[in-house]
Symmetry: D2
Amino acid sequence: MSDTETATAPDRRASEDWWRTSIIEMTPGVIRYRGYPIQDLIGHISFAEMIWLMTRGELPSQAQGRLLDAALMSAVDHGPQAPSIAIARMAATCGVGLNNAMASAVNVLGDVHGGAGEQAVEMYQSIAAQLDAGAAMDAAVRAGLDEAVDRHGKFVSGFGHRFHPLDPRAPRLLELVDEAAHDGQVSGRFANIARAVEDELARRKGGKRIPMNIDGATAVIYAELGFPAALARGLFCLSRSVGILSHAWEQTQQGGRNKGPIPRDYLWTYDGPPKRALSRTEPTDIK
Amino acid sequence: MSDTETATAPDRRASEDWWRTSIIEMTPGVIRYRGYPIQDLIGHISFAEMIWLMTRGELPSQAQGRLLDAALMSAVDHGPQAPSIAIARMAATCGVGLNNAMASAVNVLGDVHGGAGEQAVEMYQSIAAQLDAGAAMDAAVRAGLDEAVDRHGKFVSGFGHRFHPLDPRAPRLLELVDEAAHDGQVSGRFANIARAVEDELARRKGGKRIPMNIDGATAVIYAELGFPAALARGLFCLSRSVGILSHAWEQTQQGGRNKGPIPRDYLWTYDGPPKRALSRTEPTDIK
Amino acid sequence: MSDTETATAPDRRASEDWWRTSIIEMTPGVIRYRGYPIQDLIGHISFAEMIWLMTRGELPSQAQGRLLDAALMSAVDHGPQAPSIAIARMAATCGVGLNNAMASAVNVLGDVHGGAGEQAVEMYQSIAAQLDAGAAMDAAVRAGLDEAVDRHGKFVSGFGHRFHPLDPRAPRLLELVDEAAHDGQVSGRFANIARAVEDELARRKGGKRIPMNIDGATAVIYAELGFPAALARGLFCLSRSVGILSHAWEQTQQGGRNKGPIPRDYLWTYDGPPKRALSRTEPTDIK
Amino acid sequence: MSDTETATAPDRRASEDWWRTSIIEMTPGVIRYRGYPIQDLIGHISFAEMIWLMTRGELPSQAQGRLLDAALMSAVDHGPQAPSIAIARMAATCGVGLNNAMASAVNVLGDVHGGAGEQAVEMYQSIAAQLDAGAAMDAAVRAGLDEAVDRHGKFVSGFGHRFHPLDPRAPRLLELVDEAAHDGQVSGRFANIARAVEDELARRKGGKRIPMNIDGATAVIYAELGFPAALARGLFCLSRSVGILSHAWEQTQQGGRNKGPIPRDYLWTYDGPPKRALSRTEPTDIK
C-alpha cells in the first residue's frame, strides 16, 4: 500500500465526516467537552453539572444544576420488585461482569418501566403549548390529559402509585422547585401545570386524589429546566443505573449461582398440553 | 421458620401462579416441551422444527419445517456494514464474553434494523384481510401500501435494496414457496400478494421495479406459515444471531483491543464551540 | 471536497483493511458465504448446517450436521427458574422489543449460567491431549478432573444436576453419538472420555453416580465435531435463544406490566440499618 | 385458593428471604436508603454522594464526596473512536430506545475497555498490602508491577496512552488528591504509590516516562476513598454512561438509519475462499 501517505488527507476527511460530533474535541494531550478544556472543568463542575453540559451543550446555572442533581439522586432505586433491579441481581450470579449486569438491567427501562417521566414531560409540554396558544389552564389540562390517556392508556404517567398512597419523593422535589421559582431561578410554570393535572384527575375520580409520583415530580424538574422529553428517559436511566449497580454489587457479595426469580424448590404452573407421543402424518425423523 | 412445612403447599401455589407457562413442564427426571418428552424429540426433530414447536405449540409438517428452515438460514448475515455485525466485532475486542457480544448486537435489531420483516408481514396480512372482506387484489394492495407508507415512511419494508439491484435471496426463497404451493403444502396466497405489491410499486415509480428483498421474501414465508407478525422479528433475531456469533468469533481470532469503527489515526469531525474558558456568573467551584 | 473522487481508491482500501472477514463476500446482486452463492445454499442446507458453515468455514457432512442439529435443539429451554428465561419474561413486560428482551437474557449466559458446555469441552480436550501424549485413560481422566476442579470449583461442569437425578437429554444424545461412531461418522473418542469421567466421579463419591447432564452431553457432541471450546458457549447461546424468544413471546401474550420476580404483595427482607437521621459533622446541604 | 389468607405469613417470609437487601426499605408511603428517609436526603445530598451512600452503606464526608464527584465527572467521554461510544451512536439509528442504546454500549465496558481502573486499584492495593507487611516502597512497587504484567500483559493498566503523550485529566485529578491529603481528608498514600509506579515504569523503559492516564488517576481516588477494586469498574460504567447517553442523543438528532462503522460505499476486505459450487459427497438437499 505504497500510496497510503499521499492518500491520507482525503481518507481522513471522509471518515471524519461519517463520525461528526459537537460534544468532544481531541488532539494529542487535549480533551475539550463543548469547548471547555477538561482540566478546567475538573474540580469546578459537579457530576450532575457535567451531565447537563454533555447533553445540553452549555453549563447550567448553579440553581439549575442543583435541581438536576436532586432529580437524579431521588430516583436511584425502588427495590428488587422492579424488573430492572431484579435482573441486575440475577445477572450478578450468572458469571458476567458488573458492566454486563448493568446493561441487561438498564436495557429494560423501556416505555413501560422507564418511560413514565418522558411521557409526563410530553404531557406537561403539550399543556404548556396550549397555554401559549391562549387556552385557559383547565381546558389545556383537560385536553392534555385526554391526549395522554389516548396515547398511553388509563394510567396517567407521573400520577398515582400502586404501592405508595403518597410517594414521599414527590412533595419534597416540588418543594425544591417552588423555592427555585420563588428565587426566580425557574418559572414554576410546570409545577403549576402538574398540580392542575392532579386537581383534574381528582375531579375525574369523584374527589379521590391520584397524587403525583416520582416520575411526575422529576418530569416537572426536567420540564422546568428545558430538557426535551426524550432526555427524561435518558436521565432516568443514569439515575436508576446507580440502584442497579448497587444491587448487582450487593448480590455479588451475597454470592449465589444462577439466582432465579423464586427459590429452587418452587416451580411454575404448567398449563400446556399433557404428555403426548410424537407422531406426524409425515415423519421427519432426521437421523 | 418452624411452620414452613405446613405452609409449603399454598406457598408453592402462589409462586407457581406468578410464573405460568404452557411451553415446558418439568418434574425430576422429566422435561416435556409442549407435552412431548424431550428424549422423544431428540434425533427426530430438527432445530428449525424445534423453533416452530416452541413458538407455536404444535409441530409443523415436514414441508412447513423446510420452509421455516430456509427462511432462517437465508438471513444469517449481510456483512460488517450492518450495525449489528459491526457491534458484535467491536464488542469481541473489549474483554467481554461471546454471550455479551451477541447481546449487544441482537439488542439493536430494532424497528429500523430488524423490523422490516415484521412490517412486511403486517402489510401482507392487512392486504389479505381486505381480500377476505371482498376487496379486489389491486384495491387491497393499494390500500395496504398506503397504510404501510403512512405508518413507516416512503421506504416500503421488504422491497428495494440500497446495495443490491436484485437481492439474490428473494427469488430463490419465492421459488421454494411456489414449489410448496404447487404441492398443496401452503396456500401461495402471500406470494401472490407480495408479487402484486411489487407490481403496484413499479406502477407508482413509472415502471421502475423495486424488487422484493430478503425481508419481503422471508415475510412471505412467515405469513404463509401463519406466524404472527411480531414473531417475524423474533425469528429474524434467531437467524441474524448466527452471523453475529460468527463475526464475533472471527474477530476474537483476529485479535485486537478496543476496536473502534475506524482506524486509530482517523478522527472525527468536531463541529461544536471552539475552545472557551469556564466562567459563570454564579461560580460553582465544588472544591 | 472536490478531491474525493481521485482519492476514492486508497480511501476504500484503508477502510477495507480495518474491516476484514473471510465469512461473507458481497458485490451488488451477489452474496456469498464462505465462497458459496447464497442462492445455491437456500433449500439445500439446513439452518444447523448453515450455523456450521458460518462458524467453521466448510460444510459439514450430513451425519455431522445431524449431530449438531441434535445438540442445538436439545438445549433450548429449562424453564423460568433459569435467570435467562425469567429475565426474558420480565423484560417482555417493560415496554421493549422482542430483540431487547432477547438481548438482556442472552447477555447473562456467562461463565456460570452458560459456560458449562465450554468448560466440559475444555476438560474433554485436555484429557484427549494427555491420551495423545501417551497417558492411560484413568490417569488422564484423573488429571483432567483435577484440573477442572482447580479451575472452576467442586461442581464439575457437565456432570450432575440439582433438579434431575438423571437428565433425560443426556443418554439420548449419547445414543446418537454412539450410532454415528458405529457408522464411522465420528470417532466416539469423546463419548468414551465422558463416560470415563462419570466413572471416576462415582469412584470419588464412594460409588454414588453423578451422571452426565445436558452440558456434558452436548459437549461430547461439540468435541466429537471438532468445535473449539469457546464456540460451545456461542452455540449454547443460539440454542437457548429459542427458549428465550418463546418465553418472551408467551409473556407478551399473557400481558402484564413491569413483572417483577415475585407477586406485588410480597416484599423483600430488609437487613440494613434502622431508620436514622441525616447528620454529618460537615453538613453538605446542596441547596 | 381459599386457604391463601392463612398461608400468607409464611408465604411472604419465604420469598422475602430469597430477595434480601440492606440497601432499601419500603412500606407504603415510606422509602429509606440505608436507613435514611428519602425526603431527608433530597436537596441535601448530591448525586455523587448518593452513589457513595448506595454502594458503600454510609454517607461520605464532604471532602470524600467531592473527590468521588471529580472522578465521576472526569471520565464521561473519550470520543466516538471508543467502541462504547460508537456502539451507542450506531444503536441510536436502529430503531431502539435510548435505554437500549445505552445498554448495548455499557455492555462492552469489559475487562479490556472498562477494566483498567479496576486493575489499577488492584495493583495499588497489592502494593499497599506489601507496604503494610513491611516491604520498602521500591520493592513493593516492583513486585506489584510484575504481578500486574503477569496477570494482564505488558500494557500496565492506568499508565500510558495510545493517543495522549500526557493525559490532561490525570495531573489535575492528582492535584485534587494532593489538596485533600494536605487537608488531612485522605491519606495520600495511593497517590504516592501511583507516582512510584510511574518512576519504576520509567526506569524499566530506560528513562522514557509512561505517565498516569485517566484510569490510573481515578484509581488513585477510588483507592484513597476505600472503594473495592470491583466497584471501580461499576463507577466507570456510571461515568461513561453520561458520554454514551450524550452521543446516542446527538446521533438521534442528527438522524440516519442503520449507521454502520464506515460510509456505505466503503466495503470490507474479503479474504475467504473464492466462489465455489455446492457439492458434497453426501448431498443434504433439504427439499
